[in-house]
């Protein structure tokens, strides 16, 4: 068996796969980049060639102007992949957002999985996480502290619907990240039987359309900018978190400010965002999911990319698992997106 440390190098700006001369989720332009998913802290513009799932590539085309049709960019389905420099790369569902993938690399008898960001629970907008056995498991740790236990999503959605019904003269404005969270909240609302039109900020429009194009049914969406203020009373409105306390929200009827994020678990975090209705809905694995996943994958070694590394490292130590923190930089989007 090859020694992983000889063919894969964690750098602050990403993970470098030496035999393939390729970076995974590089934070700076690279000649060749394999990308786990479309969030800006993992997917950047300016790479020479991009290797990703077809959904991720479509998202990168929409958000960062990457030319998805260009021949040097390669799109793959789940389970598919490519070989380069003797390394076999393949993409496997990560359950984080549409198109999100874990990247499995096989080289000289050794298997390494980079999870990117992931979650374990069911999400109607993307394929569910699959356990991929490996020797080295490179995991995120956004919620790598035992205080983070996301409650069942349907309870949070019920809370949201309850809040709208409680105050029919007001709208409920949900801050939800434009890629993934917004579409998931909409899809979960639909699953819970909320079939009224859902009103959205202009910044969500294109991504919702992209999801619909990929077969995620979001029901009827209307733009806030094209709707009378009064018509949005008793309705649900979605906007990116940055618009919550912005002047933009003045066009809504006395909105109740809600926010869908795993950080909402901590009261002072929610207060800090001036949130009145915190919804603990996250696209990242919570503590129980992180630890259960490591136990299930049961790798020889766990590398932790970003988040609360210390907490997860400590858990690995307590359960006598070999682990190390990689201290990747630029993975700070989680503040907004988690």
């Amino acid at each position: 068996m090859a020694k992983a440390k000889t063919w894969i190098e964690p750098h602050p700006g990403g993970i470098y796969v030496k035999p393939a001369d390729l970076w995974i989720d590089p934070s700076r332009p690279a000649p060749r980049a394999a990308v786990t998913h479309g969030h800006a802290d993992h997917a950047r513009s300016g790479h020479g060639a991009v290797f990703a799932t077809s959904e991720t590539l479509a998202i990168m085309a929409l958000r960062y102007g990457v030319d998805a049709e260009a021949s040097h960019n390669q799109a793959y389905g789940y389970g598919d992949g490519f070989e380069r420099g003797g390394v076999r790369f393949s993409f496997h569902p990560a359950g984080h957002v549409l198109g999100s993938a874990q990247i499995l690399m096989e080289y000289a008898g050794e298997r390494i999985v980079v999870t990117g960001d992931y979650k374990r629970r069911v999400d109607p907008t993307c394929a569910r996480f699959e356990v991929v056995p490996c020797d080295i498991f490179i995991t995120e740790a956004t919620f790598g502290l035992p205080v983070f236990r996301h409650p069942p999503t349907r309870d949070e959605i019920a809370k949201l619907i309850g809040a709208v019904r409680a105050e029919p003269d007001r709208s409920v404005l949900v801050g939800a990240y434009a890629l993934g969270k917004a579409q998931r909240v909409i899809a979960e609302l639909r699953a819970a039987g909320w079939d009224a039109p859902i009103y959205i900020h202009g910044a969500l429009e294109k991504m919702c359309a992209l999801y619909a194009l990929h077969g995620v049914d979001l029901g009827e969406l209307r733009l806030v900018s094209e709707t009378d203020k009064a018509a949005m009373a008793g309705q649900i409105v979605l906007a990116p978190p940055s618009a919550l306390n912005d002047r933009w929200s003045r066009r809504l009827p006395d909105p109740v400010t809600a926010m869908a994020s795993g950080w909402m678990r901590v009261r002072q975090r929610a207060r800090q965002r001036m949130v009145e209705l915190p919804l603990v809905i996250s696209d990242h694995a919570d503590w129980d999911e992180l630890t259960a996943t490591i136990a299930e994958v049961n790798p020889g070694e766990t590398w932790i990319t970003h988040g609360s590394e210390d907490g997860l490292l400590r858990w690995c130590e307590l359960t006598q698992r070999k682990a190390r923190a990689l201290h990747l930089v630029g993975r700070d989007l989680e503040e907004e997106e988690a």
Binding site: P146, V147, F148, R265, R267, A270, R271, G311, L318
Partner: protein, 522 residues
């Protein structure tokens, strides 16, 4: 506990005072005794369980979770109770609903050695929100922005009774306030306070905005720069109440001991300053005595307290509040000689020849303890609160306003480690606190140390170098003038604002209103 936990949760996320009020009103109306009484006592920090401390909870957690993981979590969350509530493992099985009263009974009955087991069994009966509510109830530090004043208002509103009556009864009845609720709901007579040293709500003054008043109708007194107190003797005990109705007798034992008459007086608590030849010292000196639970002999000697009396509310069992000021004053003058001269003196009436003369005397007043002039309508009874046209306060220049500290920022240079720049606000008509200015001077080094500690102990949020603090500290801000400004949401900007005093004695709700400041705009 579910309803109580939900109430706390809503209060945490509700910023407007009126919305908070509505939440409490709803809770009081729809929650049975004694839970609602315990709940309101918990919200106003009126409960204490000596056997249960933060250390108890930390030690208990150590039996369930790795200490390092607890430490990391505590560091992230920033609050022991919340960390513990989130970390405590959900006990398996369905849970019977634990009432607030059951929790209070269990916490009150436990000994220090049994406390961990008692707290553990309570935690096992609750979900994460319930655990948070329980731990806040047990440890205090609720920080949901509910003052005693707000709670009393909520009670008055919930049961449609006069808030003045609630003010009187509140401090005379112990949690869970069953007789108070019975009276509020019309199930019982108003509780009888004949044998209780109860608090009478203060009569308050409006700032003088008129050009002048007719001195035939108004008497003038000096406005003293101390803290307003009410001393009540009744039911065999003496109590000293501050503005918000808090009992502060513990900090001034010499006054409690010296007040031996069956009476209720209203006056200004001051300390005698040596430099002033035994006259009242500045407010700064008085501050040394405030906020203490026990007082050393040295404190008593260095900062001797006395009360300058200006009203008499009850004497020998008779309530005098309905009498006109002239009559109360006559009785007061006859009464004060019955008190020990070492600790009580009479606030003198100023006898100006006309209003211009009064203005001159006010401007020329040199006494450090004089804050301005009070004008009291001669035929006015003593009524609770601020009634138009009865009492006026006419403060000495510069302009001052009582503001509430909202944010603090670290200073520069020598003050780099201190939170020394303060943003403060006043109340809007909607009951929201809006920033009106920022100040970073006017306090002594000792006061800066105290303010810095206040900021650290009362931080709600951190935004880089700025901390948002609990909106509970009143700062008296002096400023040269105030102007309209588009830069601030309040629409006001102060010129040369500085902290003139820290008003630890004043409840945040009684800070000035934006409208009052707007009236000072030049």
């Amino acid at each position: 506990m579910k309803r109580f936990a939900a109430l706390i949760d809503r209060l945490i996320y509700t910023r407007s005072r009126n919305s908070k009020l509505a939440l409490i009103v709803d809770y009081l109306r729809h929650t049975p005794d004694p839970d609602r009484g315990w709940a309101i006592a918990a919200l106003t920090e009126s409960l204490d369980f000596p056997a249960v401390k933060a250390g108890t909870v930390r030690a208990l957690l150590a039996t369930r979770i790795d200490e390092e993981l607890f430490r990391l979590s505590r560091h992230f969350v920033g609050d022991t109770a919340e960390t513990a509530a989130l970390l405590w493992p959900d006990a398996p099985g369905t849970k019977a609903e634990l009432s607030v009263a059951e929790a209070v009974d269990a916490l009150a009955a436990t000994s220090r050695s049994d406390a961990p087991a008692v707290v553990a069994s309570l935690l096992d009966q609750l979900d994460a929100d319930g655990r948070y509510a329980l731990l806040k109830l047990a440890l205090g530090g609720m920080r949901v922005g509910v003052s005693a004043r707000l709670a009393k208002q909520a009670f008055a509103q919930a049961f449609d009774v006069p808030v003045d009556d609630v003010e009187e009864l509140w401090h005379a009845i112990a949690p869970p306030y069953a007789p108070l609720f019975a009276w509020g709901e019309g199930r019982a007579e108003r509780p009888d306070l004949a044998d209780v040293a109860f608090f009478r709500p203060f009569m308050l003054a409006h700032p003088l905005e008129e050009e002048s008043v007719d001195l035939a109708d108004y008497a003038a007194e000096w406005k003293w720069d101390g803290i307003r107190v009410q001393i009540v003797h009744g039911g065999g005990e003496t109590r000293i109440y501050s503005r918000g109705g808090e009992e502060i007798g513990g900090a001034f034992p010499e006054l409690v001991a010296a007040f031996d008459q069956d009476a209720v007086i209203d006056g200004e608590l001051l300390v005698r300053g040596e430099v002033q030849g035994g006259e009242a010292a500045s407010f700064n000196a008085l501050q040394q005595r405030l906020g203490r639970k026990t007082v050393s002999k040295k404190m008593l000697a260095d900062y001797p307290a006395f009360v300058r009396v200006y009203d008499l509310l009850a004497l020998d069992g008779d309530d005098l509040r309905a009498l006109p000021w002239t009559e109360r004053r006559r009785r007061l003058e006859a009464f004060v000689p019955r008190l020990a001269a070492s600790h009580f003196d009479l606030s003198q009436v100023i006898d100006p020849t006309d209003f211009d003369d009064l203005a001159k005397r006010r401007a020329g007043a040199r006494d450090a303890a004089i804050e301005g002039v009070m004008l009291k309508r001669r035929d006015a009874p003593y009524v609770a609160g601020r009634r138009a046209g009865l009492w006026y306060k006419w403060k000495r220049d510069p302009l001052t306003a009582d503001c509430v500290m909202m944010y603090a920022q670290r200073g520069n240079g020598r003050r780099a480690s201190f939170y020394s720049d303060y943003t403060f606000g006043c109340w809007s008509d909607a009951g929201e606190l809006l920033p009106v200015g920022k100040a970073y001077s006017g306090f002594t080094d000792a006061e800066l140390k105290w303010l810095d500690k206040f900021v650290r102990d009362n931080t709600l949020n951190r935004f880089g170098p700025v901390r948002e603090v609990e909106k509970s500290l009143v700062l008296e801000v002096a400023f040269d003038s105030i102007h309209s400004s588009k830069r601030h949401k309040s629409g006001l900007a102060m010129r040369f604002p500085r902290i003139s005093r820290i008003r630890r004695d004043k409840p945040a709700e009684e800070a000035d209103r934006i409208a009052t400041l707007r009236g000072m705009v030049t």
